[in-house]
Amino acid sequence: MKYEPVIGLEIHIELATKSKMFCSCSADYFGAKPNTHTCPICLGLPGAMPKANVKAIEFTQKFGSAVGCKLLLSSKFDRKNYFYPDLAKGFQISQYDLPFSAEGSLQIKAENGNLKKVRITRVHLEEDTGKLTHATINNRRVTLVDFNRSGVPLMEIVSEPDMESAQEAKLYAQKIRQTARYMGISDADMEEGSMRIEPNVSLRKVTEVSKVSNGSKVSKEQPPYISSRPSVSPDVILPNYKVELKNINSFKFAEKAIDYEIKRQTEILDKGEVPQQETRGFNEQKGITISQRSKELAHDYRYFPEPDLPPLNFTERQFEKIKNKLPELPDEKYQRFIKKFNLGVYDAEILTREQAAAKYFEEAVKAGEKAKISAKSIANVIINDKPDIDKTLPADLVSQIYQKTQATYISDDELARIVKKVLGENKKAVEDFKSGKDAALQVLVGAVMRESKGNIDPQKAKAMLKNLLTN
């Protein structure tokens, strides 16, 4: 039996705002002592009330726009109610049926060059939870809670289950990360936890391409913008289960986890059974996924509009502004670099991977214009030599390149001419050398360097001088 993976990704990105989502604690909590970045609001103390961070909303709308979403004119926050020790209020302020942005897409390029569109259901805003760590104190197993992270703005990006391989999922996630970094809204670093991915994986029998009157299992009562797994192709039945994967800390592990899951589910389906709908955690050491204690009741979140936060209304004009102010995004820049600088696809891809590097490259090209240093040569140096772009100014890099190129431009005839001139002007040094003072050679080398303005390989100059002097 041949199966086709049906993969969707839920990505959380911590926004790089100064303050938290609903209070004014500093959101820069990484490395801080536990429970030192809290206040009555993010600690969920009795009586505390939220106030929405306008910057976090702007970031979310900007990002939504960048991934082709439509922005909603009316939006609101909702309460997602469930119990967990890291959830201070016993509910998370999130967005349910009126997210800030919805219905976008991203294009990914597979290794074989094929382009694929991944649809994005929604991009919404919510608050992060505290952090749990497990410990043993006096032979007793305990869980320790730190609320520094509680309340940090979290952007959630939900994709349609359009991906069909672990590789595609990885590419999509990388593209999301790249876009977030380009926008300057987050570091999106998986190791630091500012980007988290949760794939959901199921398998569909390839042979089941039968026409169904109501192609997907969409409940009529679903509010808009809730991913209800519409068919990738309207004729195909979707799997009636999905497995969520958690605890994935890198792109590499994401690929591994998904591949493992595909294998595991294949084995179950081959037996004629259906995989359990559940959440599974990825175990890095063993490279497998393990069922987490099923929180059956956890899925009735009893969403209702957050009464402590009035709704948010926007205008088309505001949205126009957002759209017009978007920075040049990776794909655009990539195309432009190929065209404008005549770069190959490989070089263009590497140079546009990070916005900082792309900016650096362009500044260097500009600096090199006068000296007619080609963009291609600059690209080569950046890609192959990997200079520290934080420490080396673009202009300095260019002059380094210039030095090297100039060094090869001095022809041997020219070099001979300079050497002859120097020998003629430094008779004393010549005599000193001939009478055994080796150090005098350095003096002559120095003179040749000065005369040629440093555009000579000093070893070459030395060799030529020695040659002439000893013959």
Binding site: N35, P40, K51, V142, T143, G281, S291, Q292, P311
Partner: protein, 100 residues
């Protein structure tokens, strides 16, 4: 519009959802008392609200937000002040197991 159906609550199930431990006695008592309340509440079935918009905010406020500024947080001591169990600056609870 969905109508209020039979006025019964599975108190056992709801108490789990609400993270609220109840004795059997309480469960029995609440089941009966809330049945009465729900029967009364079913009154709302009498009104036709098909063309009425829900009102989730009684004020006409909108777009109430704050700028992205930081202010000093509570000290660690203040944050932990009322907790029954703490450890090295953390809140302490019994171990949560997620099979790994």
């Amino acid at each position: 519009m969905k109508k209020i159906q039979k006025p019964e609550i599975d108190v056992d199930y709801v108490s789990k959802l609400a993270n609220l431990p109840l004795s059997n006695k309480e469960k029995g008592l609440f089941e009966k008392q809330l049945k009465d309340v729900l029967s009364y509440i079913a009154k709302l079935n009498e009104i036709d609200t098909d063309k009425v918009e829900p009102n989730s905010h009684i004020t006409d406020l909108a777009n109430v937000t704050k700028g992205d500024k930081t202010f000093p947080s509570l000290s660690q001591d203040e944050a932990l002040k009322n907790a029954s169990k703490t450890y090295n600056g953390f809140f302490e609870v019994d171990a949560i197991f997620e099979e790994q």
